[in-house]
């Protein structure tokens, strides 16, 4: 994960990292800006028969087929409606390019590494492994997502097929 981090700060002990924030089910999440390739308006997602539940389908991105992951399903959240603000964030993780469906994209925020706190990992739900940390910024709590852990090694490999 560290290889993706944008170390723009001069202080090596406490680098400043940039995060793209988005909303999902009323909460604010952040992903490393270095892993975000682009943000697309919602477009028709073609379902793939036999695909796992966390795969919404595929889209055609300038001639390339990109798998779109159902982020709400992955995080164990209730399904949401598609609105004008719905976006598909194209990300790169574990050498794969995939899209994640979010309610809306907010902004890019700068966070010092020292501002990021360890997230709780309570209970038996494996969903907590997606969370890299949390940070209180501008009056709200950002939940920072480790995109590399969004899928398991096997699941990443399945996307190839």
């Amino acid at each position: 994960m560290s290889k993706f981090m944008n170390k723009t700060n001069v202080s090596p002990e406490d680098p400043v990292l940039q995060w793209v924030t988005f909303h999902l089910s009323g909460e604010t999440y952040g992903v490393n800006v270095m892993q975000v390739q682009e943000v697309l308006r919602y477009s028709e997602i073609a379902p793939v028969p036999g695909a796992p539940a966390y795969v919404l389908g595929i889209i055609n991105l300038r001639g390339n087929v990109v798998t779109v992951i159902d982020t709400r399903h992955r995080f164990g959240l209730d399904p949401g409606e598609i609105t004008d603000n719905t976006r598909i964030v194209i990300i790169e993780a574990e050498k794969h390019v995939v899209g994640i469906l979010v309610d809306s994209v907010a902004e890019v925020v700068y966070l010092r590494q020292s501002e990021i706190e360890t997230a709780p990992n309570i209970g038996n739900d494996d969903g907590a492994k997606f969370i890299q940390g949390v940070c209180h910024k501008n009056g709200e709590l950002l939940i920072l997502i480790d995109l590399n852990k969004l899928l398991t090694d096997d699941e990443w490999a399945d996307l190839e097929t």
């Binding site: 709780p120 990992n121 309570i122 209970g123 969903g127 709590l141």
Partner: protein
């Protein structure tokens, strides 16, 4: 005629007491120094100030009365400030029993440093042992508890392990992938508080989902960043160890120290609960594991 709340309380206490290997009748409340201080059943929306005014106090020495008055003023001061989404700081509570005079020190803003948190956490764990007389160390002599309402039940929280009282605000942020009883993180001036859905944690079999909407405060465990969501804060009261039916077997509900029949409530073993909560976090367990 009993109300639904009273029936629920009675049924719950009956269940709890049924787990005890032997049950002894409560000490006569008339013998207790503060026996007249009772949890006064109040409407759900009744502020603590009103509850406090209903407390009937029997004649006693002026020193005790003055202390009670100070405690009530402290609590009222906390609650008067609670609607403001700022820090609501309770009287500083030490993790070890202190003389009564020290428990009424003026409310002061607490600056919680991470180092302090760690040091106190250790202290909490060390205090989490029960003496051979079947009582926790913090209850060897008289001790004070804060009565709280949680989804229709009254719970007693020993002040010896109470940290701060913060209002629950819209900033409470749920985190996906956690246990159901984890309500989320509540930002406070002292840092993020991990809020426990007390109703679900304490009585999952009688859980009412409406608690999520009715909970207004979170009381933190001294030295830890864990807090218990509650509906209302009621008055603090002083107990003698004899006022409590201590649990002999605590394997099933380790967080339950005993029951206080005079107040119709359960007494929480907060240090033990704090230890349980800390052990639930796999990230922290991993961090503290020297081999991890």
């Amino acid at each position: 005629m009993f109300s639904d709340d009273q029936r629920a309380v009675q049924a719950y206490l009956d269940d709890l007491l049924a787990e005890l290997p032997s049950f002894e009748p409560e000490a006569k409340t008339a013998d207790l120094p503060l026996a007249a201080i009772r949890a006064v059943p109040s409407p759900n929306t009744a502020p603590v100030a009103k509850v406090a005014t209903k407390v009937q106090v029997q004649p006693r020495d002026s020193h005790q009365e003055a202390l009670e008055q100070v405690r009530r003023q402290q609590l009222q001061a906390l609650l008067d400030r609670s609607p403001v989404p700022q820090a609501v700081t309770a009287a500083p509570i030490t993790a070890t029993p202190v003389p009564l005079a020290e428990t009424v020190t003026p409310v002061a803003e607490a600056v919680v440093e991470p180092q302090v948190l760690a040091a106190t956490a250790v202290q909490v764990r060390e205090d989490n042992s029960w003496a051979e007389n079947g009582r926790p160390l913090w209850a060897q002599k008289h001790f004070e508890v804060l009565l709280c309402r949680v989804s229709g039940l009254t719970l007693a929280v020993p002040l010896v392990a109470l940290g701060h009282i913060h209002p629950l605000t819209e900033q409470l942020t749920p985190i996906f992938g956690q246990a159901e009883w984890f309500m989320g993180l509540q930002p406070t001036p002292a840092g993020q508080i991990r809020v426990v859905n007390t109703a679900l944690f304490v009585m999952p079999e009688r859980y009412d989902p409406a608690f999520v909407e009715s909970a207004r405060y979170v009381i933190t465990i001294d030295g830890l960043d864990w807090g218990l969501a509650i509906d209302q804060v009621q008055q603090p009261t002083r107990l003698n160890p004899e006022d409590v039916t201590w649990r002999g077997e605590r394997s099933k509900r380790p967080w339950l120290a005993g029951t206080i029949k005079s107040a119709m409530c359960a007494l929480l073993d907060i240090p033990r609960m704090g230890q349980m909560l800390e052990s639930q976090d796999r990230n922290r367990a991993k961090a503290s594991d020297p081999l991890g």
